[in-house]
Amino acid sequence: MGPGFDFTDTPVSTGTTIMAVEFDGGVVIGADSRTSSGAYVANRVTDKLTQISDKIYCCRSGSAADTQAIADIVAYSLNYHRNQTSKEPLVWEAASEFRNFCYNYRDSLLAGIIVAGWDEERGGQVYSVPLGGMLTRESCTIGGSGSSFIYGFVREHYRPGMPKEECIEFVKKAVQHAIFHDGSSGGVVRIGIIDKDGIERRLFYNTESGESKIAGSQSFIN
């Protein structure tokens, strides 16, 4: 910051909160909806849950451009692979492709990605591909700038083997807590539930009442 600092030059980033949790038979993924460009909110209704294949999605954090480009390439590559083999891609295959990109180009990219989905071989899986390009599977993982604020919350309230509805409530609450504290996260909470039948999307509003529309104070005089 100094003389000549220009707001329009700050890169667009998905300063973000993203999260994914495995349950028996699938995964629950969640994210906020704010894309920020420095202090400006470029998009307040972003969808950060990006489809890679029918039953594999990724949650993107870091540079919006970088993660969109990589997600497009991985989705294309897996679609080609699916056409060639007539088999649905494995979640691990998607995660591995993400990792290869994020590792080989690590000096030029700012991308922290969570890959989650369902496949026939291993059921619901969640993989974490953080900044340096390592790959690891976790049953519950959080990412993005907002995740720093909810490590304690997640540690306290996560139990392995939670049923689906509990997972949804847990992810919703966690993302809401992160949005509360993180300036780079905001908007609505987008949730996706992926199982053998595909994805079911849900949307939760971050308002006090949970309503999508809030009337403001009408008058400043009693």
Binding site: Y105, R106, D107, L110, S128, G132
Partner: protein, 265 residues
């Protein structure tokens, strides 16, 4: 990153200041994609320093085999991010590898090593690579990368036994520096574990398995007390003529009782 200190008389007719100069003679690195060999100047300028890191690895050689131990933590700066990661790997029936430093680079070098082991199996001659050979190969790879100003930010312990059952314990670092000894360690272990083990070494013989195990337990305890980037859970790889496997995770012994006797500061 490339500084103008390179612009000196010896560079007459050489590359422009800041340009990478290829010392390789015939073998240009232009053959390999840039991204894979040099720290990239394209796009956003991010440091190639380690991002997700593993802390210490400790190895001890005893009469008949080797032990390699590391905690199960991969840190993200000061954040204890991934707390259930195995950092000791079985490479083949005769070799263990303990990895510290940037974990993405560890996963990358392990992939290359696994490919080598598969090639070995394809030869189908019953011969598996020896730990000393792997250590030599790693030295060359790491030295080459550092000479091209694009290091693999890792510090590894290579351990195992050769076909005669003679144990080997070595350490190779990110600059390609290698040595072997009866005790090796990386990171904080180098400062805390090495002196601890060296002090207990009997002058005239190797450690017994019991002595080595107890020393590992004690080293992991001290490292947990005194390394901020550690957790009290670790895995241990054991390699002898009869068995090569990674065991664990184990818990570190802790004693905080004396804390109540301290007051004031």
């Amino acid at each position: 990153m490339m500084n103008n200190a390179f612009a000196q008389p010896m560079w007459l007719n050489g590359p422009a200041p800041g340009q990478f100069y290829n010392f390789m003679g015939g073998n240009t690195q232009a053959e390999l994609p840039r991204e894979l060999t040099t720290a990239g100047p394209f796009g956003t300028k991010h440091s190639t320093a380690a991002i997700t890191t593993g802390s210490s690895v400790v190895g001890i050689r005893y009469a008949g085999g080797v032990l390699v131990a590391a905690d199960t933590l991969v840190s993200y700066g000061s954040l204890a991010r991934y707390q259930n990661i195995d950092r000791v790997f079985k490479i083949n029936d005769k070799i263990l590898l303990g990895g510290s430093g940037d974990f993405a680079d560890i996963q990358s070098i392990k992939r290359s090593i696994d490919q080598k082991m598969i090639e070995d199996q394809c030869c189908n001659d019953g011969v598996v690579m020896k730990p000393k050979s792997l250590a030599s190969w790693l030295t060359r790879v790491l030295y080459n990368r550092r000479s091209r100003m694009n290091p693999l930010y890792i510090d590894v312990v290579v351990a195992g036994v050769d076909e005669a059952g003679v144990p080997f314990l070595g350490n190779v670092d990110l600059r390609g520096r290698a040595y072997d000894d009866y005790v090796v360690a990386t990171g904080f272990g180098r400062h805390l574990a090495l002196p601890l083990v060296r002090e207990r070494k009997p002058k005239d013989r190797d450690f017994t398995f019991e002595e080595a195990s107890n020393l590992i337990r004690e080293c992991m305890k001290v490292l947990y007390y005194r390394d901020t980037r550690s957790i009290p859970q670790y895995t241990v790889g054991i390699c002898s003529a009869s068995d090569c496997s990674v065991k664990g995770p184990f818990k570190v012994e802790e004693n905080w009782t004396f804390a109540e006797t301290v007051e004031g500061y």
